[in-house]
Symmetry: C2
Subunit: 406 residues, 2 copies
Amino acid sequence: MNEDLGNGKIVEIGGQWVGPTQDRLYELAAELGIETFPTFIDGENVLELNGKLSRYKGTIPRLNPFALLEVERTRRRMDSLAATVPREAPWDAPRAAKLDATTLGGWLDRGMHLAASRRLVEIAARTVWGCDSRDISLLFALWYVNAAGGFNALIDVEGGAQQDRFVGGSQLISLRMAEQLRRPVELGMPVNRIGWSADGVVVTAGDTEVKARRAIVAMAPSLCERVEFFPGLPPARSQLAQRMPWGSYLKCIAVYDEPFWRTDGLSGEGISDEGPATTTFDNSPPDGIPGVLLAFVSGPEARAIQRLDEAARRDAVLAGLARMYGTKALSPERWIEQDWAREPFTGGGPVCFMAPGVSTGFGRALSEPVGPIHWAGTETSSTWSGYMDGAVRSGEGAAAEVLERL
Amino acid sequence: MNEDLGNGKIVEIGGQWVGPTQDRLYELAAELGIETFPTFIDGENVLELNGKLSRYKGTIPRLNPFALLEVERTRRRMDSLAATVPREAPWDAPRAAKLDATTLGGWLDRGMHLAASRRLVEIAARTVWGCDSRDISLLFALWYVNAAGGFNALIDVEGGAQQDRFVGGSQLISLRMAEQLRRPVELGMPVNRIGWSADGVVVTAGDTEVKARRAIVAMAPSLCERVEFFPGLPPARSQLAQRMPWGSYLKCIAVYDEPFWRTDGLSGEGISDEGPATTTFDNSPPDGIPGVLLAFVSGPEARAIQRLDEAARRDAVLAGLARMYGTKALSPERWIEQDWAREPFTGGGPVCFMAPGVSTGFGRALSEPVGPIHWAGTETSSTWSGYMDGAVRSGEGAAAEVLERL
């Protein structure tokens, strides 16, 4: 969603980036006349690790050479293992049962020996999935990496999923698509019930009832718990809804007169192991006015500050930004905090993940149609699952599935 | 729930047993004039392992002595580790983070070396939690074991949680409690919404609205997803609802003229690694007429047969019973199958469990009141969590919590 910053400037409080191989999203935006611009990366990045501050260029910070080698080795091991996990059917991977019986974190703990590199990979994992790496199935994580084309694609700015932004904000995509519909999208009408049979569906939202031959449900699996299906969904699908939690994630946005860090030679991209925000980005509009710092608080760090009140959360995050970018960071003109766990129609962020056993036990049910009910949503996409590009692909896939059957 | 077998006989299709140290359940039943009788255990038990059938006495089957030793050693290791996990605060256990970062199955895989004993412990775990041991957090499993007073307490008939049954069926307890209320319990009124503030709650169920100073919500955590809380619950509590799935579990009941296995010198208690039912019990009424065999299908086995149609599920389970108890088992007078994953107001069985990271990350939210909202249900009990005894204790605890604040 776009948040208005005045003077025609916006900042997104939802998904915002697009990068190489996310072709369906680039194409759709182009079709709708929405332009992209590169995420600001000029200057040096900041790393806060073990109480020490340093500067670096690119995605991987300056660590001691051994730690750097271990990060690179881990990435390569992850990518080559991920390449063995079929995008369309992760449960068919060689040794799928074994990979699904352990966690990403357990695998990292066993394979990495240096604290600094392990910590860095942990920050990356928490930023990608919004949870501790020890909460997530290794098989699921590998599948997700493969669906993106490799771990670097997930974490890189240049050449990766954070490379470009949309002029006018990502929400323009849905707004312009909605304009093209013959009938306006009905908002504020959450569906309570979906009755279904071989003949079709009856969808109820409050007092409104819609009959159709088929329905596409494009909701996060856990949100499907809110809808009464009648008759009930098959056990594997109904239990999947209990088994794909959202990560814990806050997107914090500090708006300043100008991007003061740029004059210090800094890009605004940063990593901190002290937190609570463990990753930051320059999120200013294309012309750099106002200056916007974006800070992600994820997983255990998110849960820690969620217990504080609003002012204390702000203070905690700004204190971290000040350590990284100087005391000017303490006084933003404006402060925007988005915690998706507080959004009743979301439930968390940035994505839904699977614990051990879920992919092999319930994964098929994620996209297998149930009678006239088809499933969409980025979780169901075998390419760029979890991203806006995956959402677009899943919508196209579900539409094709329905057309085939009409 | 009781299922009528005619002639005043019943069989339970929900929880049914009570055993030593489940004192609050025994006391409540006695208070309500409900008697207990011992689960039938006379004769020998059956073990099907690796395609071979054998007979044994007691909880632990006759395996080769090495395998037996390993089972016993594993049980002792589990009990002594479980004893380090505080019942009221498992997240405070020594090395809680580490115990919560691995699965019960991973721990068993590392510590056990013989296939036969590992398989036996797996069957026990699946029967207790309704999932593969590799799906469940080690910390959670240890806490659950400690809340019951040890692993044997969970799996034993004599001296354990399956020792006794209720004359007339366990549902008599709720029915008789309901009779004592001044106003009848309102049935068929699922709550849609709970509005809350410092002053109290407004609970909405369809067209009915109830105002109260406090509310006790005694639902499985995942079912709380179905209720709209306004304002929304704190993030840890709302995300817990996405993180405590039900096991996959079928309770199958075959009713025969008489308990024919008894005349063969068999108790009806059995274990099979071929399944689909991996554990069986004699579930006949006190006088043994009719003969009732109870068969549990759990975890991966449950998901495998859930994909079949009703007749094929019945055939698969009966074929297993016939291997264990002879061909007479193939022709029951009556067949009752209960799959809780198909019950919209349950969602699975026999209990809810936690994957890695959930206890340390979200466990506190399980029973911490939110304003005027208090939580009950067996999941919140620190003694016999998951059992009817824990449910009774949790109700008493929540009532005390409310009285303290009124």
